[in-house]
């Protein structure tokens, strides 16, 4: 499994895909957080990063599918999946290795944003006047959200040989999982199930973790969410036999 993980990670790092997606993520988030007056921390006047954490899920929604879209789609198009699966590795190991390699890329995109935290920490009056607990919680929440989107992306990639379709499906599913359930719960006839439906969506759990309180229910939600999509991936790839 380590061999497959290493290959996937190096393949990300040797192609421009990882650098461009991480670069775009950092560029857009920096512009919105520091330069554009409507959303800038400097204009806002309070030492907090909530602007960044509200925005990041929407950036991830596009960038994570861009990272994951090739994982299985390309292997099937080039025929290399046949090469890979006839090596002594199981399908679970392949899926796990690809999943972990993409998560490392997501982590790489988050690490540089710690600079934002440091800057706001220094800019606070007095210095350090920022709710660090909430920031740590938000980072954890963002990482878990990224892990959920990555699982969706891998599943979308296993559906088709076409990377563009994989990308589009992953963006739609990520968007729906993030905020679709909130919107559905507002339908009048479903009002009686409102809280149940809202609880199915990622946003509810993301917000809950972002408050800085780590509830095991949220953690279990994210783990089972990712496990569910990885299981679907195994079914679509294994079902081709």
């Amino acid at each position: 499994m380590y061999a497959v993980f290493k290959r996937e990670l190096f393949s990300f790092l040797n192609s421009m895909v990882a650098y461009i997606t991480i670069g775009v993520f950092l560029l857009v988030s920096s512009l919105l957080l520091w330069f554009f007056p409507d959303t800038s921390v400097l204009e806002y006047g309070y030492a907090e990063l909530s602007g960044f954490f509200n925005l990041a899920p929407y950036l991830f929604m596009f960038l994570i599918p861009a990272i994951t879209m090739r994982l299985f789609a390309e292997e099937r198009k080039e025929g290399t999946f046949e090469l890979l699966i006839t090596k002594p590795v199981t399908l679970w190991q392949i899926i796990g290795a690809k999943y972990l390699a993409s998560l490392v890329i997501v982590l790489f995109s988050l690490i540089p944003t710690l600079v934002y935290f440091y800057s706001v920490y220094q800019l606070g009056y007095p210095t350090g006047n920022i709710d660090s607990g909430a920031v740590i919680g938000s980072y954890l929440g963002l990482f878990l959200l990224g892990s959920a989107f990555t699982a969706i992306g891998i599943f979308a990639s296993s559906l088709t040989k076409n990377q563009v379709i994989a990308f589009a499906v992953a963006v739609f599913l990520s968007f729906f999982a993030f905020s679709g359930f909130d919107s559905i719960s507002k339908i009048i006839s479903l009002q009686s199930f409102e809280s149940t439906i809202v609880n199915l969506g990622i946003n509810e759990h993301y917000l809950s973790i972002s408050r800085g309180v780590l509830d095991t229910r949220d953690l279990i939600y994210f783990i089972s969410f990712a496990a569910f999509f990885l299981l679907l991936t195994k079914l679509t790839m294994g079902g081709r036999k």
Partner: protein
Amino acid sequence: MSISVKNLSKHFDKQKAVDLISFEAKPGRILGFLGPNGAGKSTTMRMLTGFLAPTAGEISICNENILSNPVTTKQKIGYLPENTPLYTDMYVKEFLEFVGETYGLKNLVNTINDVVKRVGLTPQQHKKISMLSKGYRQRVGLAQAIIHNPQVLILDEPTSGLDPNQLVDIRALIKSLGKEKTVVLSTHIMQEVEAICDDIIIINNGKLVANTSLEDLKETHYPLSLEEIFKKLTLD
């Protein structure tokens, strides 16, 4: 028996791609797998290597069942898929290292150097796979199939797209590998069959139409040439 296949079938919806075939392959002999395009050669090879699951029938490779013990069985097989799929974004040695690691090989540096020499890749060994010509890619494909010194080699059209000089080299390599291993290869070139194969299997529309040694096949159909025998068996 290194490979033993009993009543193997594969159905895609209603189409019977492979229909109740049985055969055996012995160590030290090269088995040529012949048949027109679409006869079920690749499908059979894909079932032997665990890429496709059979609809019915049994496959035993070195007395192991690939369906119940896929990982240990795959360890014993070297497989070159049709059209030689490779990770073209990798360098030759990097790719062979990756393949070696999936087999859990030790002493990889020496193993890779040996296998590179054996398949004649030395001049191209520092290149990216995407830069290589068809013939050299074919050699990389062979190298990844033999790197772990498997008992069973399954080669799907190993010589397609090679120039005459490369053909001679690759055939000699396969012939030397066939001395100790069980080799199954598919091909459309009859001269190749005469040059390297010991046993012959011909399939047509998923059914076995011949399963014998090369000499016996020629004797039974004397004085027809191999090409005429092939036509006679598959054109009806």
